[in-house]
Symmetry: D2
Subunit: 260 residues, 4 copies
């Protein structure tokens, strides 16, 4: 079975990129489940209920997220209501929403999805490694097909988690840096891994935002109002083929499509 | 003319990978200048005079570096003596070594090389953007062919510098994360850009170091003695074709070669 | 001659504390110049022209600031116009405002004031040590009486700058942590030093802000809207006695006054 | 009953300061229990079994620690064996040592001591707030007299934990910055609090280490070998008077004694 994972969707530019390519991708690659990181879908910062609904309508089955999911307060209630929207599981107990779920494909296959956030250069969260141990043990009671979105900054933390979970999940895909890495592959015990899937949004930009303000931020160190860039849209994703009998990854294929 | 830039060489594994592939690459791609980042060439941490000499013997013309260049004190004198070894230019004035140089190829072309280090999640250095302004103005008086190794962590800082220097240098190549990115290309005003060239060392590892200790570090938060990994060596590089009449990049091509 | 330096004024609570105590302090301690850090005077975040004017009316002669001075855009023009308002000198060139000035007391004494910001755990700025070298050399051509407000987080960086400038300025006072330290004194070459002067605002609070939201921030890691606390106001300051003939500090005296 | 808590003991200078003053302090203040932070007792970095034994011989009853406790590997076994030595409780499960204990005074009173480490600008640990909830609930089953050493950098995190635990423990004392703060007091529900007790070591120094190397570190950004400073030794501590019937603090008194 095939899972398509789409990297951080950046604002309207990213949503239009999904709209323009997703149906073709799903058909041509015989995709069974579409998962996408939606933490930047609302003008680059967070997500709203309306935009989440728009993304589900475009054909996304499950949304994951990351540090920016908390940017817009109006999503907090929605996080509690919508089981197809995840936020990192290793935030403290008691927060809105959930960090993992099991989703059924049209063909009746059950797929577990787990969302985690890194700690290096990021928020002060619970240990993503131990959180993964707990959640994966629970998910594996339901299905061997498990996808982990590890939303993290440091390549060392991402690679370490990939190897740590090797053989226990179908795939570990990194998000957050908004730049696709070229290290995709299947690790020795059967887990597909990539350090970062990359963004779905403008390529002629600084991680999806307009260059002018981004450069200005570095030159001045002053607070800056970032704007979503529009030019040269791309869709970054990975296609993961999984042996549905045991959850092992057969292959991971990188996708970076021009959507201009 | 063609410049080959090799990403962070990690210990003996990386040096053997260079040895096994560099001559073939130089011949088959008609490379005029070989530049490599050597900050991790000595057992993963820093560089020594002997190891630098070994790398020049293998066919590397110029070594750049980054934050780890200061790990071994014995290199400090060598930094002052060896004009083919660079350390980031935006360290404070008065430190050993130099941050840029102009090197002449066998065909008599002059190529400027500038090494910079990022500040986001890294050391407290002088502004790499303003440092680049100064150094590039000076280099351009000698040659329009200029390569910048921007040794930095955050994709935003790297992309911002790439766009900032677009049209003023032939290429901006990122190093330090040890993971090759898939965003290589030529920006709109003629500067080739990639966020990270990736490592030259073991792929079956955590950024070139053994998995066991790296995972242990994240699980325990204790200080750990990292060891260079050996399995599954690769060489990561980019080949940059430059129009020698004006210094504009014509093409950037990613290289990730198995050296097993 | 005597300089009174008042630590970070936090919102209305801090302004009312200044109002209630400043005149008495100035009279009883025979203060010649009143300097105060105003970066949090506007509801805890930044400063406005109106609030700066209010603080001058209360008897403050010079306002320094720090990282929060940039929070409110409306102050940017004012920074250019008002020579009695400083922002850290080690921001990049070209930004609004100035980092130092020379001010004349009623008795006709000239006092240089220099504002710097630390880099450890803070913004990516120019080196405060080298910036201090330049600015102090220039100020000393006008007057030997010089006060430095070093707005910084880490005690190591603060103490290092204090010792670095020992003998070259009358005083180095730390701000930013909002907690008064007990290490005030005169260093061996005649510079008065304290790691942090402390806040002027509510003591029954978390660095001047309401406890409830501050605790919530740590428990949840979510973005939180901080509010200025009101209970138990205090004024934190230091009184520095300077030998006006040579700029050497004679004494530094800590002040923490209840303003309830 | 009276608890004396001594701040971070820095190398031999700090040990000699303890030796010179502790007996007099214990006698004159009628101290029932002496607790000290020993994370820097071995040449500024970590602790050894011999040095711990030396400190117990000098009259210290319980040693707490912090991030530097892991610097010397030889202490790891000792951490498992010696119940009078604590390391922060919020490190991951399975590490050497323990984070809290209950100790009996000569008069037969039981005192719980809990060691925690902050996360802001520090290691990626488990939440100190939730860890405190668990450990304090357990300690309170044995005794209402509880001292917390919160080893942390940011004043906001320290103050937030103090208020969070107010009424549940006898005292929260901060360590790690090596600079004594002047905000000691008893919070509204009966918990004594100080942001930092300060160091026991050389005052004419940069947080206890020689000025020369510390300044050099900031000027060059190069790795530096820090040395324990010797001049002008002080002992920083707090004396906490506790109502032994209910564990409420009656008073907290700051101590900074010259030991020259
Ligand atoms: Fe993102
Ligand atoms: Fe993110
Ligand atoms: Fe490296
Ligand atoms: Fe590096
Ligand atoms: Fe402040
Ligand atoms: Fe501040
Ligand atoms: Fe310490
Ligand atoms: Fe510490």
């Amino acid at each position: 079975m095939n899972i398509l994972f789409i990297g951080d969707i950046i604002g309207r530019t990213g949503r239009r990129a999904v709209e323009s390519r997703l149906h073709t991708l799903v058909d041509s690659r015989r995709v069974d489940l579409v998962v996408a990181n939606g933490e930047n879908a609302a003008a680059g910062f967070g997500l709203t209920a309306n935009i989440a609904a728009e993304l589900y309508d475009l054909g996304i089955d499950v949304l994951t997220s990351g540090n920016h999911i908390w940017d817009k307060r109006e999503i907090y209630d929605y996080l509690d209501r919508e089981s197809r929207l995840l936020r990192p599981a290793n935030y403290p107990p008691g927060l809105p929403g959930r960090g993992c779920g099991v989703y059924t494909t049209a063909a009746g296959l059950e797929v577990g999805v787990l969302n985690l956030e890194g700690r290096v250069f990021m928020n002060n969260l619970d240990c993503p490694f131990r959180c993964a141990d707990r959640e994966i043990e629970s998910l594996r009671r339901q299905t061997p097909i498990i996808l982990v979105d590890f939303h993290a900054e440091a390549t060392s933390e991402k690679a370490a988690l990939g190897h740590y979970l090797d053989g226990r999940v179908s795939a570990v895909v990194g998000t957050h840096t908004h730049v696709q890495t070229a290290d995709e592959g299947v690790l020795s015990k059967g887990t597909a891994y990539i350090s970062d899937v990359g963004l779905t949004g403008s390529r002629d930009a600084v991680i999806g935002m307009r260059k002018e303000e981004a450069i200005d931020r570095f030159l001045t160190q002053l607070p800056v109002r970032f704007e979503v860039a529009k030019k040269d849209p791309i869709l970054c994703a990975v296609l993961i083929s999984v042996d549905e009998t045991n959850g092992k990854a057969l292959e991971m294929h990188r996708i970076m499509e021009d959507c201009g």
